[in-house]
């Protein structure tokens, strides 16, 4: 039960409200709600203006712009008033305009009421902006409008072109790889008293490594291994040139030193022009006498492993890298091989392979493999070296081309 004073208070308050003096004794007014809607609208407008896309509202009946966002003004370099005062034809090429008109006339009911048009918008300064316009028909208060969202395609076009070029390049590189592989011997030649194997794996599509065999009469075989600095297209081209020169000249000379001297003289100009140089080891094996003659143009020395017990021997011979000087004399040395001996020609892609700690694979590890594999076939040795190097670097991808030739005296 309320106290009398409470009842009086209630009377008084109710009377106040009836007079219209209550805190909420409001007459009908739309203003506060309108204000709120305006705020919402302003927020929404800011949202649209922040979009990277150009947004246009087009009145269907007149095909004229009736609203645009900030982005459109910015990207077209026009003021809002300019855009709103100019006809669509000012910004759109005829063909695109016809598509807009066709969509509008077909109406929202019939077609899908939507179109995507790839075209160009004319900027006020005169430049053209490549865009993809998505146009949708909408009806507000029984009036038909088109909402056009135009996305700048400049960046996308650029990326697409780059992608296309990349794939073209990739195709070309693959072709180059195939050609380069075809320039290597398909299979080692057969020679009495020896078994041979060779392998060349470029780090990228094409590489600067090369090996080859030239069969001479009287069971004599020439072996060559070369490494053009770098493993780019330039290096690959130069490797191909080395092969051509050798194929042409190899029979004009008999001694390994002379062959290297002639090769250096012929390639010198091209190499110095291209800023490239080549290391190369050239060997001649006379099967009947088991004599190995060798010369070296700055290439890692050829290894000989006599048996599993003695350390490997490095076949050193004086000679400058090809392409440094025009006239070079190359030392020529000989060594006699015995049954069971292994000879390994290799490029520095093996010995200079690094592990995570920055350590090099080195010659000692290579020799250890050779010494441990006297009972094996050359292919097996090559496969073993590949797997050991991969194990050492902790990766299957190589940073340099890797090439090996193994000769085993039976």
């Amino acid at each position: 039960m309320s106290k009398p004073s409470d009842a009086e208070e209630l009377w008084r308050a109710q009377r106040e409200k009836i007079i219209g003096l209550g805190e909420r004794s409001l007459r009908k007014t739309y203003y506060p709600e309108l204000q709120q809607k305006l705020d919402e609208l302003e927020r929404f407008r800011a949202l649209l203006d922040q979009s990277n896309d150009c947004i246009f509202l087009i009145q269907a009946a007149t095909l004229s712009f009736i609203d645009v966002n900030d982005s459109a003004c910015r990207q077209l370099g026009c003021s809002r008033e300019q855009i709103l005062s100019l006809p669509l034809a000012h910004f759109l090429p005829e063909e695109a305009l016809a598509r807009v008109a066709a969509l509008v006339y077909s109406g929202p009911g019939e077609g899908r009421g939507q179109a995507t048009i790839t075209t160009q918008l004319s900027c006020c300064a005169g430049a053209a902006l490549p865009v993809e316009i998505t146009l949708r028909l909408v009806t507000f208060n029984k009036i038909l409008y088109g909402v056009a969202v135009a996305r700048d395609l400049t960046e996308r076009n650029r990326a697409e072109t780059a992608l296309l070029e990349n794939s073209r390049m990739l195709r070309d590189m693959e072709l180059a790889r195939q050609i380069q592989l075809s320039l290597l011997p398909t299979a080692p030649p057969l020679l009495p008293g020896v078994v041979l194997a060779g392998s060349c794996i470029p780090a990228t599509h094409v590489g600067g490594d090369y090996y080859d065999f030239y069969r001479r009469g009287g069971d004599v075989l020439d072996l060559v291994i070369a490494d053009v600095a770098g493993h780019s297209i330039g290096a690959a081209l130069m490797a191909a040139e080395v092969r051509s020169v050798l194929h042409a000249e190899v029979h004009s000379f008999h001694s390994t030193g002379e062959i290297l001297g002639a090769l250096n003289a012929i390639l010198y100009e091209d190499l110095s022009q291209a800023g490239l140089c080549i290391t190369l080891a050239y060997l001649k094996y006379d099967a009947p006498t088991r004599t190995l003659t060798y010369s070296n143009a700055g290439h890692p020395p050829v290894l000989i492993s006599r048996n599993s017990k003695t350390p490997c021997r490095e076949l050193d011979a004086e000679g400058l890298i090809l392409g440094v000087r025009q006239e070079v004399l190359f030392e020529e040395k000989q060594v006699r091989l015995q049954s069971g001996n292994l000879v390994m020609l290799y490029t520095d892609g093996i010995t200079e392979a690094q592990n995570e700690a920055g350590e090099l694979f080195g010659c000692a590890r290579l020799c250890a493999i050779l010494r441990s594999m006297h009972g094996c076939q050359p292919e097996e040795i090559i496969a073993k070296v590949h797997s050991k190097v991969a194990e050492f670097t902790g990766s299957c991808t190589m940073v340099d081309d890797v090439t090996m030739v193994v000769l085993k005296v039976i």
Binding site: L21, E23, R24, R27, T29, Y31, P32, Q35, Q36
Partner: protein, 388 residues
């Protein structure tokens, strides 16, 4: 007497108004309820000095509504003052207006409101129904008992370039609420009390004889006439008497409701041109012109004038119209003299050379359209001649 024209179509527009002591203190609550975030307070230096603007500002602050004050308003508010007020409103980011003062700040505030919402110059709104969009919420706190701009659909602005006062007549300038507080009139000087009081009387008389009058406006007009004639001199004598001030404020309100809907006549048309050309005090002009205009109009509506006489407290039963006419004029002259107002235009500095220009403007003023008798330019000139 039964007349069919009693029921010609009429419309009555009035804002919400709160009448009574301390009504001004509701300004904050109303501003808040109208959704105001920042209010432009339009006032003038005199009203600020009297403290009423600060009173209203304190109410706004207590409701947490921000404000900015625009007090560069003079009497007979100028179009330039409206324009700079509108710029100030935009610059300050206001979304509502509170006018505190007499007719000048209130008319200026109305102008500011429609300039802001329509984004046009104030002179573009001259005439009847020329305002397209309504003003932002407008709260009026009148501090004089006379202009009634707080309830009217009129705003009178001085076009200083053309040296003419023009009327904006539109339902769009009717305030959203009038907070009519008799307390605010206690600081008026005798002169201002007199001229604004006679302005209210003039509103009532002109609205009553207007060709747009209606039974509802008549009611308010007659009541206003009675209230002014019986309380004006008392209010001048006892400025702090809240009952007399209250009755004068009520008279002003009722006269305002009447004239806002019935419109006015020749007195106001002629006073507007005096204000525009010579910047004369509006109430003073009205007081001088009224008897002469009555003389001109009387024959067109003798019965209406007789009713006015009765409302003024004159004995009109069985009196011949001509006699009643003389009595009304004598009573009016007595009242304005006793209130200390000038009796000739000459005293206000008007010369005969001004008359053609004044008549030219008066004949075009919208107030003239509802005068009971349609005057020619020559007839207007003649009235000015008599009043000089």
């Amino acid at each position: 007497m039964m007349e069919l024209d009693e029921f010609e179509l009429r419309k009555f527009v009035a804002p919400e108004f709160v009448f009574g002591f301390d009504a001004r203190k509701l300004a904050g609550r109303y501003a808040k309820n109208f959704g105001a975030r920042k209010v432009l307070v339009v006032t003038d230096p005199g009203v600020r000095a009297a403290g009423w603007a600060d009173d209203v500002i304190a109410c706004l602050q207590s409701e947490g509504v921000e404000h900015a004050v625009y007090d560069a308003v003079t009497s007979n508010p100028k179009a330039g003052e409206v324009e700079s007020g509108a710029e100030f409103y935009q610059r300050e980011g206001c979304n509502a207006i509170v006018a505190v003062g007499g007719g000048s700040p209130m008319d200026c505030a109305k102008g500011i409101g429609i300039v802001c919402s329509n984004r046009k110059s104030v002179v573009a709104f001259e005439g009847v129904d020329q305002v397209e969009l309504p003003s932002p919420p407008l709260i009026c706190v009148p501090t004089t008992a006379g202009s009634s701009a707080d309830v009217s659909q009129f705003a009178i602005i001085n076009d200083t370039l053309k040296r003419t006062k023009f009327a904006i007549i539109s339902k769009m300038v009717v305030p959203d609420v009038a907070l009519i507080d008799p307390v605010t009139t206690t600081t008026m000087k005798a002169e201002l009390t007199a001229s604004t009081g006679v302005d209210a009387l003039c509103h009532a008389i002109e609205a009553f004889v207007s060709t747009a009058h209606s039974p509802i406006t008549d009611l308010h007009a007659l009541q206003a006439i009675t209230l002014v004639t019986s309380n004006l001199l008392g209010a001048i004598r006892e400025p702090d008497n809240l009952v007399l001030r209250g009755r004068m404020m009520l008279a002003s309100l009722e006269a305002g409701l009447a004239f806002s809907n019935a419109s006015l006549g020749a007195v106001h048309a002629m006073a507007h041109s005096l204000g525009g050309l010579l910047d004369c005090d509006h109430g003073a002009c009205n007081a001088i012109l009224l008897p002469f205009v009555i003389a001109f109009n009387f024959e067109a509506a003798p019965n209406r004038y007789v009713e006015i006489g009765r409302a003024m407290g004159l004995e009109t039963g069985g009196v011949a119209p001509a006699k009643a006419h003389a009595a009304i004029r004598a009573q009016l002259t007595r009242l304005t003299r006793a209130a200390g107002l000038s009796s000739t235009l000459g005293q206000l500095g008007v010369s005969r050379d001004d008359i053609p220009g004044l008549a030219e403007r008066a004949i075009c003023d919208p107030c003239i359209f509802t005068n009971p008798r349609q005057p020619s330019k020559q007839e207007i000139e003649a009235i000015y001649e008599q009043a000089i």
